[in-house]
Amino acid sequence: MFKGYKAGSFFDEMYGLDQPECLQHYKFLESRFERMSETELNEKQRTLENGFLEQGITFTVYGDDEGTERIFPFDLIPRIIPGDEWTKIERGLTQRIVALNLFLNDVYHDSRIVSDGVIPEEIVKGAAHYRREMEFVDVPQDIYIHVCGTDLIRDGSGNYLVLEDNGRCPSGVSYLLENREAMKRAFPSMYREYGVRPVNQYPELLYKTLQHLSPRLGQQPVCVLLTPGVYNSAYFEHSFLARKMGIGIVEGRDLVALDGYIYMRTTKGLVQVDVIYRRLDDDFLDPVAFREDSVLGVPGLMDAYLSGNVALANAVGAGVADDKVTYAYVPEMIKYYLDQDPILESVPTYLAWREKDRSHILNNLKSLVVKSANESGGYGMLMGPTSTAKERRDFKSMIESEPRNFIAQPVVSLSRQPTICGKYSVEGRHVDLRPFVLYGKDIEIIPGGLTRVALKKGSLVVNSSQGGGSKDTWVLYK
């Protein structure tokens, strides 16, 4: 199966830098797959996919009338991360979330980082997700980002780099957990032989993180998950997490604000809510405070939040930290707040509003990836090397008219990994890794994360909305 596999000029998860033999920790996996017949392989794949479909482990595709629910494509070959490699990632992620939270607490209070000249004021206050309402507001335990999904990639020599932080409503953790269950069923003995660190404690950890925020002390807090509703693309994940945590899943219309407190409507009357794990953007949270036309939010929620009577995870305004422009300053932030060097490096980033950078971007559009500062899901992006002349012209004029909105990075050749393509053959496909970081009483990171894979040949876009799939990620004890 792996004979004739070409790792190519990319760093390969399994073969490193085009080694003739696979890396030590993939040896057993290689021989296990080599021994598998085409029938066995296809049967495993089919069983797995049917399982996902039958259990309703699906996501919703926007702008698609036919079969709006789809399963997230899944590849049988897991990604394996040795224990020591993971330890370093874990330390890097911990350092990063601490710095990002200090940053948020700072910019919404004294803005020392601005007055000390590390980050220009207009970068912070001009960010799309900056919330004036949050200035000089103390959030519970001074934590802003309770759940963070940080996207990691590996460069040409296999170093892990941070590609972006998702500090608002990162999603994907349910697929990670379901992938693991599926793999344990499909390859029980190989899984056991490898000694893989478990991930299924995530819901309990998340629940503890939420409980930690409760403004009502000495009482079992009432936590709920706020979803935009059953037609949201991530609804499966919302209901999955609520179920596993044993908390209620509510929509905006289930909650009411009354005298600065939030209640949910139950058959027995109103019940006070303490903590809301909201999977809704700031903009939609409260039609009184933010977007008037939001029918998903709760009028008066912001008022209750600012009075400290209800906690939100993540905090309102946390989006400043995952702004793509702010991203460029994270290494400085780590230095400034922690007096440490970043453990995980970032991708070199050019900021279009800096004149020098801008001319570099405009002159090198063909070799850069241009991203709009506040879009996610792979939208609003120009992939230089594969772009058409027209796309480049469009981006050029957009950058010139709104430089604050754009950043550019060199094309980082994401690492690749053998992925099953066709019935019985493997080809290299680009992957990234999204670990999930929880920040409550302690910082908890479940080993591994969601490995996303760009299933289209040559593609670097791993987002599920753009034809991405996923793999299970095995972090080893050793």
Binding site: G56, V230, S239, R265
Partner: protein, 330 residues
Amino acid sequence: MLSRDANSLYWLSRYIERAENLARLVDVKRYDALDSGRSSAESDDLAWDTLMRVTCTDEYCESFKTGDQKEDVGSFVTLSESNPDSIRQCISNARENGRMVRDQISEEIWLELNRLHLFLRSREARNLWTRRPDAFCKEVVDFCLLFNGLIDSTILHNEGWRFVQIGKYLERADKTTRVLDMLALVEHTDRLQIASALRSCSGFSAFRYEFKGDFNMENAVDFLLFSQSFPRSVRYCLRQLDRQLHGISGTPEDGFSNEAERLTGSLLARMNYSSVESVWAQGLRDYVDSLQTQFNKIGQEIFEIYVLLPQEFRGVVKEDAWQVQWQQQQ
């Protein structure tokens, strides 16, 4: 529990019960057509016409009749996408509600519900309906029975369970009256039609046991409306409804604390202390009509009390919530 969850559980259960009744009706109609002595074209018209009248809203009945008829009546009531009252759409709606309360129902229930939903959208379902319609109907009925079994044996018998029971018995009572409607529509009922009505309610053997096979109109009506022990008689359903409503509010069964309880209780009392003679006095169609009106009122009251609560917010939410409610009804 969350009001919206109560609402979803109620509708989940109603749609399953609706699908079950529909599947049974379709199967019985199809089977009867064999004994009618009429050619398929004629009998189609007659037998299916009544079926459409009791299962579909007038609007869709009309749209079907005036449409270009690519589908036959059977496919229209079973697998049609364009008929919001078809079996397929009922299950799809049930699943939609189930999806909203996945944390309240067991994994087994969800898997079975999703399985049937996927099946009804598949080519296999269409093939099965064409080749072996009896097997198709059995598949649906069996699922619904399994669903009720799972509800009873895999989830907590708490408030949510009671809302499931309420949905089930209210829908069932309504469907039994619709079968009676079908009888009332016929001018001269014969044994075949009476047996068919009983089979549509899965009450053929039970009836034989109670009335020793005396298939006349009076006995059938007596059985379907007043039987103490037949689980699909209107009286039986009302008794269950009354019990569950009181269970939710904690009110003793000889009193009431809200309008839904009052309506159910007084309707049940009326049925407990009257007999089939009072039906003839009022006329069967009229009697059945008034029952259906009462059922609708009870459903509406339950929604007002438990979903639109609390009182002071009624003005704010009512409009939206009613839109949703209305859409689910049809």
